[in-house]
Symmetry: D2
Subunit: 345 residues, 4 copies
């Protein structure tokens, strides 16, 4: 059994990690750290946690964390991990970082999208981008895993087979993304209020303004072997959890729908968490609610490939992926402690 810590447990990815760790066979939640709420019982913030609520949150001081845990799941605001995570790693703690500070290999892209100078650029190369399906081997050897964003996870898993096979034009890809409201932080804000988000559909940060754009392009470019440019356009949907990317890409050569579907089915035949629904069924976010599954489908419309991926943004899009990465980093079975069946209905 490995002792692990969750730092920043009072946000949605953090508390979801706590939930999943509660039934993990090899990880023991040995420490919960908080920046602002140290000293409080976890249950005072989250009454749903039952016995786990008895845990008292400690500080997020790296030394304290290192005394209790061999691996830490870290969730901090953008920029706040730049110094913190390397400090933890220096103390021998492996880190799965939920934030974006170590996802982009290019410090210029980081500066442009996060309006901050990257102060630990040497760690950018050491950090491994934690999309387990793509980077499994490197994650197994990593000290610092940069857990992917929810949108990039879905977009990359939707496009990976076609792009890896060279079927797509690299500069004609549109990602129309739809997410539940829990993609926003657990901080009161008008646009996250029930009365504003309920019965509403809200496009935002269109045309590449969203911070996940460079992350998607970095990963797709690596897959394609050439620079890929995408038009990434997210929308908020009135549901708590769930994320669907509908991706539109121009085919370099004509491909039949049957051939595309066959490619995808074979590509994901062995991946434990990513699957193509049988019978050509299309993904629905509710099929993966609360599980670490990602459902993928593909269609062909003339010279255009339509690829879809659905996942739970807090599980495969955050906490589940983090535990999947931690499993790999600690030499455990990739699937340990991770639910495959969603909550339905």
């Amino acid at each position: 059994v490995t002792d692990v810590a969750v730092i920043g447990a009072t946000g949605y990815p953090g508390v979801e990690t706590v939930r999943l760790l509660a039934s993990h066979p090899h990880f023991r939640l040995a420490y919960v750290g908080s920046h602002g709420q140290a000293g409080q019982r976890l249950g005072s913030v989250f009454p749903h946690l039952g016995p786990l609520g008895e845990l008292v949150m400690g500080s997020d001081d790296p030394a304290a964390v290192a005394r209790h845990a061999q691996l830490a799941f870290v969730s901090r605001p953008a920029g706040a991990s730049l110094d913190y995570v390397p400090a933890l790693c220096a103390l021998g703690v492996k880190v799965v970082d939920f934030g974006a500070d170590f996802r982009l290999k290019d410090p210029d892209a980081y500066r442009r999208f996060y309006k901050t100078e990257h102060t630990a650029p040497d760690w950018l190369e050491r950090a491994v981008y934690g999309l387990a399906e793509v980077h499994r081997a490197r994650i197994a050897a990593a000290v610092l895993v940069a857990n992917p964003g929810c949108y990039p996870t879905a977009a990359v898993l939707a496009l990976w087979p076609a792009l890896a096979q060279g079927l797509l034009e690299p500069d004609d890809i549109i990602i129309d993304a739809k997410s539940g409201v829990s993609g926003k932080p657990r901080t009161p804000a008008l646009d996250g209020m029930f009365c504003e988000a309920d019965e509403n559909l809200v496009p935002y940060n269109l045309a590449g303004r969203h911070r996940h754009t460079p992350e998607i392009e970095q990963e797709l470019s690596a897959i394609a072997g050439v620079p890929v440019h995408v038009s990434f356009n997210p929308h908020v949907v009135p549901m708590t959890r769930g994320l669907l990317c509908t991706c539109y890409a121009r085919l370099r050569e004509p491909v039949s729908e049957a051939a595309a579907m066959d490619l995808y089915a074979r590509w994901y035949a062995e991946t434990p968490f990513v699957s193509v629904l049988p019978g050509g069924a299309l993904p629905q976010t509710k099929f993966v609610l609360g599980s670490n599954a990602c459902h993928v489908a593909v269609r062909v419309d003339g010279r255009r490939l339509i690829a879809l991926a659905a996942l739970d943004n807090l599980v495969k899009g955050a906490a589940g992926a983090a535990i999947q990465n931690a499993n790999l980093a600690m030499g455990l079975p990739e699937t340990a402690g991770l639910p495959l069946i969603g909550l339905y209905p």
Copy 2:
């Protein structure tokens, strides 16, 4: 045409009043005042207002309001109307006040529930409690109408016929109330966030702790002619609008369900906005969504009467009732400009 003002237009009751005034045949929205957002276009806060969004909000200074309007709908935080509303009235402006500052006749009850000394106790007697169905004549002569709370409106309309007829024990009444989330203020707060309120059912302020308790008891006591005590227990339901009170009261003498249903049907046969559904149908909040209607029903279970009332908390529970009151106060038809048919589905 009467020029009217809406003060505090950026909250939900205020903006709902703006919506309803847009199609009012006798009122012209001549002024919109805001405490914190004077100088801004209304449309910059509320893009849904269309051409009405061109209105520029002015200050909430009483003199400015009095220059533009004969009647003002005032929505301010608890306590903030104590001096403000009398100042407006002194300038000759009739006021319909959305807040609670002039609802309770008993300054002690006000102090106990609002933790503030009432500084305009002489106005308590002059103010008329604006439940039009009960106080129609007095509202027509009023300078200051205290618009009722959403819960009291439903609870009183549910219990009025039985209590007025002397059917009920005055000290054995339970009100189990359920409201949509828009009963909360339009101010970011954790418990109003989509991810917290969605797919959730939340009891709160049980056992008489809610501020609407003394208001309900005041009105029911006046109807009964003896002191009435209630157990008022509200819950938040995951929907934006809608409110249902299920009231349980002990019958003094046995009454058949048919007789109770007949009493209610006759009682509300002529009220334009309150009605008993034919055929014994039970109220559903969606039947009154967006309309000024209140649907009432009654059942008998042994020695207990069960009375229900459903309304839209922002219309009959706030803005619609306010316009109904303003209609009466200005000598207009009570129904002018008020929708009777809800938005369905």
Copy 3:
């Protein structure tokens, strides 16, 4: 005052027409016809209708309709208007038909998508496609108006300015559409059940399989003056009302975002129901809930134009558009009786 009839009042578009007619200054709802529920009070199906519920539904027999109404709003299943609507017209009744039977000018396309031979092809030319913004003059002279589908209305209004100005490649247009559940018929079916649709996001009929595809292409081709092909891909979103089309189109020549936004703002400066939100705000479906407004916005992402339109699928996407068409067909002001301000929140 014109006497009008609603045929097929027990579906969502029909009952929404009833709601809007209730406050129409020039139309009187003189007849309500139903195929299967003749003889019942309208209120026995729809308790929310208040006094209007007293209307007793008659048969949908054309002669009966013609005795009572000069104009009929007809809502029947696909194929069931082919003979019915011409029969009504032959009796001198103007018709606004909610269905698809007279929308497509090409009987072959009709056969392909509706699996039925068109039995009144001569009426295809006489019928006017009822998108008022585009075909205003012809609608004013029409006997039969084919009310547009909800998706085509949004898609065409989103793309119209750019396509009419020749800015777009006609064969590289993607429409990613998202609709609330009330786009489905009011007939019990598993995929429309609350437990299946709630907290779920469901793509369906992708890659041109949806019946609105030929309708969109017909209208866009007429606007462009050349054949337009689209990739139309709808999704169901967990909300009752609301529809958003996010359209992606390749620009023939580079256009700046500012120029595109300026074109759209000027294009829709005078249309009463279609507007571009000021300050570059993006449409949200909640801004138009319950109103006949359609909010449009445009962005540029490299060589791609992104055009969005949001509307309420039951108002501007159905009943509101039908009344707008009826207004034109009867020589009334286009805006008569139609709400411009949505229900918010």
Copy 4:
């Protein structure tokens, strides 16, 4: 490892049982039987089940079930278990029955509420009512466990401590119950449609008309040792899962709120799934979403006790309770395979 069967797997309680069995350490899902869909893959009905979807449903023939399983979870319509379940038991299969056919000890009450003569009255005494917290010992020895209804589970757990201690008048108890929509069967019906249930609050079967009334009275009477009569009044709330009972009961003698809270905290200090939230927090249904927990709280309002219980109607209100009962019946730890932490947010 015990081989178990799920009969009636295509309803919500059945498929939820399948989900929970997937991570059960001692039960193996060896057989899935269906009345109407034998021969189909489970995944063709439920795409969310992942690898479990490969199970092919067999018939619900008792002999077939008995060949594969030692214990069966049976979910059939009211009346359809009367002969079926005894036949299964006769073949040596232990049964946990989700239906109501063996819950009521009084065949007259069964006839009155289910409009059917009970054809296996001898089994009524042998069947054990499966509320594990109350009947733990008898369940451990049972051949047939009648799994409780969702409402009775919450109502009884809310009232048990006070009633067992003799604090309450037995004939003055009101249960105001609120449930998510998944309490209805997975069969298309108008009142379960998204557009009808969304943003709606619907009271139904008030004043003791609901079939759970005699079940609640039977269990409360056994606890009190005297006949208990309740006024049971359910409402449907616009959410998929979750159930809250707010119970109002008259105190025989004055009891302080502190004393009542203390009683409840001690009463449920050792029960693994029922707990009183610390610090006097009130239950919210979201705290128990997807878990087998039931959260209880108590308040005192004058001479009235207010007791609340929240649970997930498909877990502690159905499938979770069934597995808890099966654990007991097979001599396993009561908590085996059952989640204690809900899905939040």
